[in-house]
Structures are given as structure tokens and as C-alpha cells.
Subunit: 420 residues, 2 copies
């Protein structure tokens, strides 16, 4: 298997004439297609809704495209709530999932009429004290079953060590508590495994949450209005990985839905998802130019992009596939470390990567940067964050965020410069 770039060298060059490298580019057609496939996979569920995780790709134009495809947004902070409001998301099209939440963030979510997903039982009295003496009619709880969570395909994670969510006992206790405070409808949410490859995670998570939903309804008398399967569906970053089949995932969840919820008289429960990575990662790429080739103990390709543009390889050792545009058909018979210019030795997009022979000036396409790419950018070493570009459905392109300037970098220093 291989991975194919969806941008040609000619396209990249045409964009580069207007917008200097490095830049992130997003593929509008692919975003729409991914969203449509997701909606199709869950079309059996009336009221299904994707709440796109803004943190993955916090760009208003991207959010607008997703809104046009029927998606809502999942916000984790005040800034994300304000952005979503400004793009035009209203009320229950906004899910607010946060932890160690400041009162100000809760207030904004409440003011916008967002669905608030409570991370902890202690947040309920905090909300009543600092935000509003009454709870909204519909809220959500985040669940954490503890221990190790293992999907049948072997993928696992460690919710018992995660800071998120409520225990089973707290969910039960909180359900009774909020009912007394005016809540009529409750959603349940859990995020137990990150970037899960294979088609089993969602169906198994669904069973966990559906069983819980039946129990909560029975114990508390609250209507369970939705189950939020959250994020966690992975992306085939590596060329030998198979992409998740979202239709099989949808069928798998449907089967459990019919086994657990329908017999319990809960066939109206809506399914929600928060698939930032699944929808956007493959629909984004980081485009960068080769500035230097260095031969010392290894051969280093020095790019004009660095970890300020894409941090995942530096901090997680994450694999991002690389295509040298225009050299797609050449043999990958050279070995390179592909580096950025930060004074951090982990600022390497790839280590010992087999690639075709690289020349200075080559344009490099780094795959699958559409989620948690630009979003994790920083200004370490005084490096500036890049522009974002949209490859439109009509084949044209437009800038959807300008690159940072030194003036931006200095903005919070205005009035604080010493006299020279």
C-alpha cells in the first residue's frame, strides 16, 4: 500500500507564488466527502449528529464547511465557543466538553445555550454557584469506567489513569442530583481510546454506554436523549495501515443499538460523534520547501517548516507520511532525516525515512496534518505560525488564515519595551 498526495507539484507551485511556504492546505471536497460518509454510515439513527472537535482544526472556514454538511461543534474552551458563535453555530449545535473548567467558560457555554458535558460531579455545584442557580433542561455527563479499556482488536488505553470523566457511582449520584435541579434530558459521553484503528472501538464503546444509559434511565427516571461516542476513531497515518471503514463502524453501532437500546424502549436515543481527526486529518497537508541538504553523520533535509507548524512528530514521535512532489514515481532509495530549523533535536518530521533523492528547492507534502497540525503550533525560537489555504471544490484555492508576522509575535509586548 502507499499513500497518495492529493496536490500536484504544479498546484503547489501555483499556490506558492501567492502564499509562501510553509502553509497548511485543506481539501474541501475530501472534507465534505468524509462528512457525508459519516452521516451515511449513521443514517439509520434519526437525529444523528457529528460535533466536530474545534480543537483539531480551529479555522472558521473549515467550521463553515462542516456546518453546511450538517455538523455541529465540540468546544473545549472560551475561545472555541466564541469562534463557533461567530461562525453561526447556535444552541444545541454546540457541545461543550471541558475539564478543570473555569467559571467564565461555563458561563459562555450557558449563555450560548450549548449542551454542557459535565466532566465531574463536583462541577455541578460549581456551576450552580458560579454560573446559574438552575441547570439547563438538557445536559450531558462524561463517563470514565476506570481500569484498562481494551478493544477486541487489541487496541487499548488506560482510562483509570485519565483525568477525564465520572465514575459509575458518580454518574448515578449526579443523575439523581441534576433531576432535582430541573434537568429533563441527559446525554452520556465517553472517550476511552485515542486514534483507534480498526472498526471495533465504536461498537464496543457503544455497548458500554448503552448499558449505562439503560441503567441511568432506570435508576434516575431521566430521559436519555443522546449517546455521544466522542472521538477516538483513528486515521491510517502509515502507508501499511488500513483506513477505518466508517460504514462498518456505523453498522456495528446499529447492531448494538438494536440489541440494547431498542428492547429497553430507548429507540429514540440520538447518536453523536466528535470526529475531528477522522474528518480532517487526511484532508490536510503541510507544504514546505527544502532549504538545505546536510551531510554529516546522517543526511539531513532542512525544511522551511518546523515543529512550530506541526508538532506531532516532535512530541509524540508520530509518523506522518512524506511525498516529494513531482517525484511520486521515483524509487525511494535514499535515507533522510527530514528536519525543521528549531534548536530542538526532536524537531524532525521523519527519521531514517526512505525517500527519492531530494534536491534543494524540492516541495515536500507532509500527509495527514489536517487535524492537530496547525492547531498545536507554537512560537518557540520565535518561529511564526503559517498560513492556512483551502483547496476549493472547483479546483481553485484561497487563503483562509494569513501567516503570523513578527508584529503579531510582539503584540503582547506593546508598551513593555525598555527604553533603548
Amino acid at each position: 500500500m502507499t499513500k497518495t498526495a492529493w496536490l500536484s507539484l504544479d498546484q503547489a507551485k501555483a499556490i506558492k507564488e501567492k502564499i509562501p511556504t510553509p502553509f497548511h492546505i485543506y481539501n474541501e471536497s475530501m472534507i465534505r466527502q468524509n462528512a457525508r460518509q459519516l452521516y451515511q454510515a449513521f443514517s439509520w439513527n434519526k437525529g444523528f449528529k457529528e460535533y466536530f472537535a474545534v480543537k483539531a482544526t480551529p479555522n472558521p472556514q473549515i467550521l463553515k464547511i462542516l456546518q453546511e454538511e450538517g455538523c455541529g461543534v465540540d468546544c473545549s474552551s472560551l475561545s472555541e465557543l466564541i469562534m463557533s458563535d461567530r461562525v453561526g453555530f447556535k444552541g444545541h449545535d454546540i457541545m461543550f466538553s471541558s475539564n478543570a473548567t473555569p467559571a467564565e467558560d461555563f458561563r459562555k457555554a450557558f449563555e450560548l445555550g450549548a449542551i454542557i458535558n459535565f466532566d465531574d460531579i463536583s462541577h455541578i455545584p460549581f456551576f450552580l454557584e458560579h454560573v446559574s442557580p438552575e441547570l439547563p433542561e438538557e445536559i450531558s455527563f462524561r463517563y470514565n469506567p476506570g481500569g484498562i479499556y481494551e478493544v477486541s482488536n487489541g487496541i487499548m488505553d488506560n482510562p483509570g489513569e485519565a483525568k477525564y470523566g465520572m465514575t459509575h457511582d458518580h454518574i448515578m449520584k449526579a443523575a439523581r442530583l441534576v433531576r432535582e435541579k430541573g434537568v429533563k434530558r441527559l446525554g452520556l459521553h465517553a472517550f476511552l481510546v485515542s486514534n483507534a484503528i480498526g472498526n471495533d472501538y465504536y461498537p464496543e464503546l457503544a455497548r458500554t454506554l448503552f448499558d449505562l444509559a439503560v441503567e441511568v434511565k432506570k435508576e434516575s427516571g431521566l430521559e436519555i436523549s443522546f449517546i455521544n461516542l466522542s472521538g477516538g476513531i483513528g486515521v491510517n497515518y502509515k502507508p501499511d495501515q488500513e483506513a477505518v471503514d466508517i460504514h462498518k463502524v456505523g453498522e456495528g453501532v446499529q447492531k448494538v443499538y438494536e440489541e440494547v437500546l431498542v428492547p429497553a424502549g430507548m429507540g429514540e436515543v440520538r447518536i453523536c460523534t466528535e470526529l475531528g481527526r477522522f474528518l480532517l486529518a487526511p484532508a490536510g497537508a503541510l507544504i514546505s520547501q527544502v532549504l538545505h541538504l546536510k551531510n554529516t553523520y546522517k543526511t539531513y533535509v532542512g525544511l522551511d517548516a518546523c515543529a512550530a507548524n506541526l508538532m506531532r512528530p516532535a512530541i509524540y514521535g508520530a509518523y506522518h507520511h512524506i511525498t516529494v512532489l513531482g517525484k511520486e514515481n521515483l524509487k525511494s532509495d535514499h535515507t533522510y532525516d527530514v528536519t525543521g530549523g528549531l534548536c530542538e533535536n526532536n524537531d524532525k518530521f521523519a527519521i531514517d525515512r526512505k525517500l527519492p533523492e531530494i534536491d534543494k528547492g524540492d516541495i515536500i507534502y507532509i500527509h495527514d496534518t489536517g487535524a492537530h497540525g496547525f492547531a498545536m503550533g507554537y512560537n518557540y525560537n520565535g518561529k511564526l505560525r503559517s498560513a492556512e489555504v483551502l483547496l476549493q471544490e472547483d479546483g481553485g484555492f484561497r487563503m483562509i488564515r494569513r501567516a503570523e508576522t513578527v508584529e503579531d509575535y510582539f503584540r503582547t509586548l506593546e508598551g513593555f519595551w525598555p527604553e533603548a
Copy 2:
């Protein structure tokens, strides 16, 4: 051993009334004292100069203090060069050390008359082609000896896997090359071990570089004007670690200097250092307030600070000592995970940390954040970067950078919002 906060609860509360938490605070007296001790430790060397690594703490007011103490700056990018120029650093008070360097950055360094530290032999023709047909009279080379570099106290690192610097052969070849291009004086630089604890690293590195200097002078005929021991001197982040004794380090380097350079007739060579971490880390602290206490499978303290303010624990698992202000004398008989509010499970300032019993509203002092703290901040999850505060020598305080606002966060989106 223990670590003591240099800010009292009363001081923190007084600042908090004007500048909301979280914020970074820097101790002016300690910065000056650290710089003075460093200069004293190397007072045997005429022309000794510290080039403070701007990347560690890119704040103009901090740079100004260091300038008053006789320091220059070590810059790694265009933005850092512009900041240093604006603070008033001139010519050879600026060292420019960069890798995968863009032509624009080289041009600015050249224009400012900075000392350019070439990372690779290939950067010389690149400079001649893109920046200036002549080299400055004084430049520097970055050396990488390859292999594993082990200090006698057991601390080691792996320069052979590092992207930085030139091989021995390249140094020799480059020295002959630059002599033909008008260079008269050469400095040599190496950075082989990061955050080295103990007093041996600098003396051993000095021997490596002094031996090289003697050889380069002999082979190329170039005058060796300085040896730049760069950074790498560590900080006792953990309470059971002993602080580096900078006077012993200075004596150790002096001994090697007298053994190697003086007999070679090179007793005029200046020593340079780039000790961002050593000078600033202990002189900075992150001040944050406890928003939430959460009891699930563990007990979580939820702060108003997060990895956006201090990333080292999240990405390196780095230890930062924590003091609960006002509870300095209570027993540390509770165990907490101290977390920020990012939707990233690694957003924890401490895991299983023994601390006194914590209450909501407590003010937390996170130690040793003065270097690579604020500097590594990002906006993930739409989180905003904090203010920076200076605790002045006179005991007063003043803001030296304001906190980011949502408007700052949206700045590069102006003109790119969709129509609502």
C-alpha cells in the same frame, strides 16, 4: 533537601489583584545574581561573555536586565534578532546560531553585524549566494564530534544522532574555505549535552573544543578568537538534586585552558557561554490557582494554568517542583495529580505528587519555569498565553507582558471569517 519558593502567599495575592492568574513571574535580583556569579566564575578570562539564549525567555525586559549585567544574546531566528536589535543589542553582542536557516534570517544577522555561527559547511556557499559575496571578518563554526558524548559523571547524550554542527573534517575544510573568503577570526561552538547536572560537563567540553582550536589554527592559519561553550549547564529541578557550582565549573575550564590553550600561545582566546536555562529557570515561577478538586480513580487538582503555559511536563515528562503557597510548613501527606484543563491527558504538571492537603482557591507556585516555560506556550484548545510579571529588586512588581486575549488569538483570521 527541599526547594523554597521565593514568593510569599501575600505577595502572590497582591499581584493577583492586579494581574489574574495564571502568570509567570521572574525574580530580578536572582537573575542579576546568577549573571554576576557566572561572570565572577569566568573572571579569569579576559573578554568572557555570556550570550543569553533568547529562546529560553524571549522577553525584552529580561533581556535588558541581562544586558545591564554585561550579557549579549544568542539568537536562533529572525524574530529573536529583531527583538534583540530593538532592545539595543548591537553587532558582536549578538550571536546567531541556527540550523536549516532561511536566507532571510542570515540576511538580518549579517545586517545587524551579529556573529554568525555556521551550522554546516554547506551554509557557507548558501550565505555567499543568498546574503553577501563576502563573509564577515569574524564568524563561528558549530562542531559535532559524532558518536556518544559521555561526561565523566555518567551524563551523556548522542551527538551522532543530532542534526547540529559540522564533523571534524568539515570544520577543517570549512576553515580553509572561509579564510579564502576574507575571514580573519574564527570562533568554535558546540552543544553536546542538554541540562547537564554536575560540574564536569563544561571542563570536558572545553578540552574537546580547545584541542580542536589548536588544530584548526595550525591547519588553517586562522586566528581562533573565541570558544563558545554554549548551553547545557543544568538546573536542579528536583529537590534531591544538587545545584551546579558555577565557580567550580569556571575553575575547571580555567585549568584546561591553562593546560591546552596557554601553552599553544592561545592565551587570548575568549570564552563564551549561552546559559539560558542556568540563568533564568530558577528565577521564574508559574503562579496558578486551584479551580477544582476531583476524586475519581485518583485525586486531581484542576488549575487555571495548563500546558499552554508550561509544556515541559506534558511533552518531556519533566519534573517541576510545586509549592502550595501559605502551606510551606504543612506535611506533604496527600497524593495528587496536578492538572491543567487541556483535552490532552498529558496535561499534568505533576503525577502522584506528595503535597499538603489542597483546597479550592489555593495558590500554586510551580518552580523553575523561567526558561523554556512561557517560551514554549501554544494555543492548543484555544487556550491563551499568560502575562509575565517581574518581581523587582525593590520588592515591587510590574507586568512585562500582557496576557493574550481572544482578539489576539483571532488576529490572523481577520478578513477570513465566513459571512454569518
